[in-house]
Structures are given as C-alpha cells and as structure tokens.
C-alpha cells in the first residue's frame, strides 16, 4: 500500500498544482473582483472538478493512453513527476504553462526511453488541438460577447439586477467550467497510471459502481480539490486584479467560452452523438485551460475592435506548445534512466 501511495504521489502533486493554478482560470475574476466569496468558489470548484473527473474523465485520458501506454507504476511515477516539475519550473519563470503539454512531453520521453514508437497520428491530433483550442475559445468569446452585450442593452436591466444575475451566472458557469476542467484535465494527472492502476473495481450496495480507473480519477480529483483549497486563492487574487482586468460581465463571457472549449474536447457523449450523426467530432484531448482563457480574452479584445491584443502573450503560448513538452520529455528521459539504473526499478515492461 505504501509503495502504491508513494508511486501515485507524483500524480497527486501534479493534481495539486493543477488545482492551485487552473481553478483561477475559472473563478479568478469572480473572486478577485469580490463577486463570489473564495470559500463558495473553492467548494463549487472542487465538487464539480471531482464530478467531471469521475464521470467523464475517460475520453481525454484515452487519447493520452494511445500516445504512450506507460505500463509500470515506477515509470508512471517518473512521467508524472517530470511533468509536475516542468509545470512548477515554468510557472516560476512566469510562463502560461499547461499540465497537458507537460504530460505529453513526459510521455514521449517515456516512449523514447522504453523504445516504444510514438503514435504520430495521436501526437498530431493532440498538438493540432492545442493550436485549435485558443482559437475556438476566442471565437466563442467573440460570439457570446456580442450576444450578451445586445441582451443587456436591449433589456434595460437595472445595474443591480444585472449584478445579481452576473453573480448567479458566474456560479453556474463556474460549476460547468470546473466540471469541464475535471473531465478534460484529469487525464493529465492520473492518465499515466491507468495501465498500472493498483485498484480493483468496486460496487457499493449493488448500485454504485466505481471502476479502478474511476477510483484513480477520484483520487486525482481530490488532489486537485486540495490544490484549489490550499493555494488557488493567491492565484485568483492575481488574476482578478492583475493581468486580465475584466468586468464581471466580460469575465462571465471568458469563463463560458473557455469552459465550452474544454467541454467539447472532453465530452464523450457529444463525441458519440456527432460520430453517430456522421459529423466531424471534436477529438477528446486534454487542452490547456490557461490558453483557452487567453484565447477568450483575445476574442473579447477583437469584439471590442481589436485593441489591447497582447502579442507577447500570444507568442508565449505558441512557445509553450514546443518548449513545455520538450523540457518535460528530456526531464522524463533522464529521470527514467536514474530510476532504472540507480534505484533499480523497472519503468517499463
């Protein structure tokens, strides 16, 4: 048991840092501008992240599994650790880092080390989605901004009532965003442990079935929630009053647009529906919530006439598509070498 917990710890750490950083993408402005209390935000965020992870986390994780099936617990430990360290390091450097990009790099590092061929079709699908997701987010934000602006202007709604509706909206959209974040990003945290999962399926009172994967995701979800409660407040305060100065209504648009983007790349139900209708379905790929948010903010800038577009931020994002996976792949490769040759643990079958 102790070994299992030890090996899972790197994934849990990655989950913690995901919670600490990414919750602010969803509730940052709401909490930073005092529209919602931090405790309320943290509670809703945690509950829905866990729900999203357990209920529909499988889709995006499956894609990571196709990229590289890490099949030994010690190997998975190193892969998650390499990703976590990369995330920590890039965060310290002030770059908009993504756990998705870090974990993909680390998996490729494992593939190289174990001399497993990296599925190029999976890789191109993943990278393509990364590029596409902020663009899609910007498009949604652009659209919603115009719609909401028109509704607010036409309805002659009182400032105070608009404020109370915005609060409710921020809570509801925040819950949806948290669910989407959990569903889309749990694969980053726990995906690498799927093939070496130490858990057995359990059925509670004949009604409640939790597969071994769902138990893994539940654990990861709890780690994310822990990150939300212990560290995200600081990040939220920075988001609320720092880089993106948004009004509560535009914040609502940003969160809605980013959440829908995350949801589209995580929802198996939607994927199946579109496939059954012979329509092109969204690939289920873990994307970066931070980059989706940056995309949404750009969308709003465009809707406002293209002012204040932060090109530096854009270049940082595209740098992240390459630099993050590269750093994390190299780190994983080196660490796997040490794990195998110094600590004498088998890291692949």
């Amino acid at each position: 048991m102790l070994t299992i917990i030890f090996f899972l710890s790197s994934g849990l750490f990655l989950g913690w840092s995901l919670g600490a950083n990414d919750a602010a993408n969803i509730f940052g402005t709401a909490v930073g501008t005092k529209m919602i209390k931090f405790k309320t935000a943290a509670l809703i965020c945690s509950v829905f992240i866990i729900l999203g992870a357990v209920v529909s986390g499988a889709g995006a994780s499956h894609t990571l599994g196709k990229l590289g099936a890490v099949n030994q617990l010690a190997g998975a430990f190193i892969v998650a650790l390499a990703a976590a360290v990369t995330v920590m390091w890039m965060t310290k450097a002030g770059l908009p880092v993504s756990t998705s990009q870090a974990i993909v790099g680390a998996i490729i590092g494992w593939n190289f080390f174990s001399q497993t061929a990296t599925s190029m079709s999976s890789l191109s699908k993943i990278v393509g989605t990364w590029v596409f997701s902020p663009i899609l987010s910007a498009l949604f934000a652009f659209l919603f901004f115009h719609i909401i602006k028109r509704i607010v202007e036409r309805s002659k709604i009182h400032l105070l009532r608009l404020d109370s509706y915005t609060r409710i909206g921020l809570l509801v959209v925040g819950a949806f965003g948290s669910y989407s974040l959990g569903a889309n990003n749990i694969g980053n945290v726990m995906g690498v442990f799927i093939n070496s999962s130490p858990f057995q399926d359990i059925t509670l009172a004949g009604l409640f079935h939790l597969s071994s994967i769902q138990q893994l995701f539940l654990l990861g979800g709890i780690a994310i929630a822990f990150g939300v409660f212990t560290y995200s407040k600081k990040v939220m305060m920075t988001v609320g009053s720092g880089i993106f100065k948004l009004s509560p209504v535009t914040a609502l648009v940003v969160v809605l647009a980013s959440s829908i983007t995350l949801f589209l790349f995580a929802s198996q139900g939607l994927h199946n529906l579109l496939t059954s209708l012979h329509l092109p379905a969204f690939p289920l790929v873990p994307v970066s919530s931070s980059q989706a948010v940056v995309g949404s903010v750009m969308g709003i800038s465009l809707a406002k006439g293209g002012r204040n577009i932060n090109f530096k931020k854009l270049s940082q994002i595209s740098m992240g598509w390459i630099a993050t996976p590269l750093a994390s792949a190299i780190l994983a490769y080196v660490a796997l070498f040490f794990m195998q040759n110094v600590f004498m643990q088998s890291v692949f079958k």
Binding site: M35, V152, H158, L159, L160, P248
Partner: protein, 217 residues
C-alpha cells in the same frame, strides 16, 4: 441564494429610485419656492422651505441606508464606488436647493419688479438641469446608451442658466432703480446662488458621462 440576491437587489433598486425621485422633487420645490418668494407669496414660500428641509433630511437617510446595504450585502463591487459617488453628488444638489431657500428666508432680499422675471426664469432653468441630470442618473442604472443624451440636455440648460444669470447681474448693476450698491450686490449674490444649482447639476452630469464609459461592457 439567487432569491436572496434578487430580493436584496430589488429592495435597493426601490431605494435608489426613491432617492432619485426626491432629488427631482427637490428641484421642483426649489423652483416653486423661488417663484413664491419673488411673487411675494410669503406663506407659500415658507411652506416650500419647510417641505425642502424635510426632503433634504429624508434624502440623506435614504442615501445612508443605500450605502450601508451596498457594503453589507457586497453588491456591485465593481461599480459600488461610482454609484455611491453619484448618489453623494446628487445629494449635494438637494442640499444646495435647501440652502438657497434658507438664504431667502433669512436674508429676505428685496427683489425689484424688473428683475422678477429673470429670477423666475433662472430658477426654472436650474430646476430643469436637476430634472435632466436625474434622468441621466436613471439611464446610468438601466439604459447606459441614453446617458449622453440627457447629459447633453443638462449642458444646454446650464448654459441657458448662465446667460440668464449674466443678464440679471448686468440689469441689476446698470439699473438706476436700485439705489444702494449693497442692494445690487445682494441681487448678484442671489443670482449666483440660484445658478449654483445648475452648476452642481452639471458637475454631476460630467461625472455620469465618465461612469457611463466605465460601465460600457
């Protein structure tokens, strides 16, 4: 929770509307009071003066209550400062209306016949600026796009008031009917006091146009 937010918001909406109603009424009572004084209707003037005194303390109480509620229930954190600033300056209008009538009551200026129409017109224009600035304030809460329309009207009436004020002062100082210099100065003083209402209304309008830009989505 939504119901809680909503009922508080509705209550406050009512409070704010009530406050704005009082500002408009203050402008109208002010106009009626000046008219009554100028026409020598002493009783009616004193009644108007009493009304505006009550109204002033009433408006003060409502404003304090709104401020308290905005902070206690953490409503509109983004525009709270602007809203409170707006209500405070609107309250200044009520204060100054009351002060002018008080000065009339204390100093009982002697208004010569040839200045009466100017004094009445000046009070009407000042009252008009108050009416329009309150409309601008209502638009700020409900229909942000209309604010500039009302602000323009405030500017227009304030400018008209300035012209009448100048005319009144020139007439007073050029006239041989008023013998004493002190009397001329007294007329100037009251002309400036009445016009001050429109000046304050204009500064509130200036504030409102800035708030409106800030509030645009």
């Amino acid at each position: 929770m939504p119901k809680f937010f909503n009922s508080k918001s509705k209550q406050l909406e009512g409070d704010i509307d009530g406050f704005l109603d009082r500002v408009t009424t203050a402008g109208l009572i002010f106009q009626e009071g000046v008219k009554a004084y100028v026409k020598g209707k002493k009783d009616k003037f004193e009644k108007n003066f009493k009304e505006i005194t009550d109204l002033e303390s009433d408006a003060d109480n409502i404003r304090r209550d709104i401020k308290h509620k905005l902070y206690t229930y953490m409503l509109i954190p983004e525009s709270r400062g602007d809203v409170l600033g707006l209500l405070e300056t609107l309250d200044d209008i009520v204060d100054i209306c009351e002060k002018v009538l008080e000065q009339f009551s204390i100093e009982t200026p002697e208004i010569p016949e040839f200045l009466k129409s100017d004094f009445i017109e000046l009070s009407e224009l000042s009252s008009k600026t108050v009416e329009e600035v309150v409309k601008a304030a209502r638009a700020f809460f409900r229909e942000i796009g209309m604010v500039s329309n009302y602000v323009n009207k405030v500017h227009f009436y304030e400018h008209e008031a300035d012209n009448v004020e100048e005319h009144l002062k020139r007439s007073a100082f050029n006239s041989d009917e008023i013998q004493r210099f002190s009397h001329k100065v007294h007329m100037r003083y009251f002309a400036e006091k009445i016009a001050a209402v429109s000046d304050v209304a204009e500064s509130v309008a200036e504030r409102l146009s800035v708030y409106a830009i800030k509030r645009r989505i």
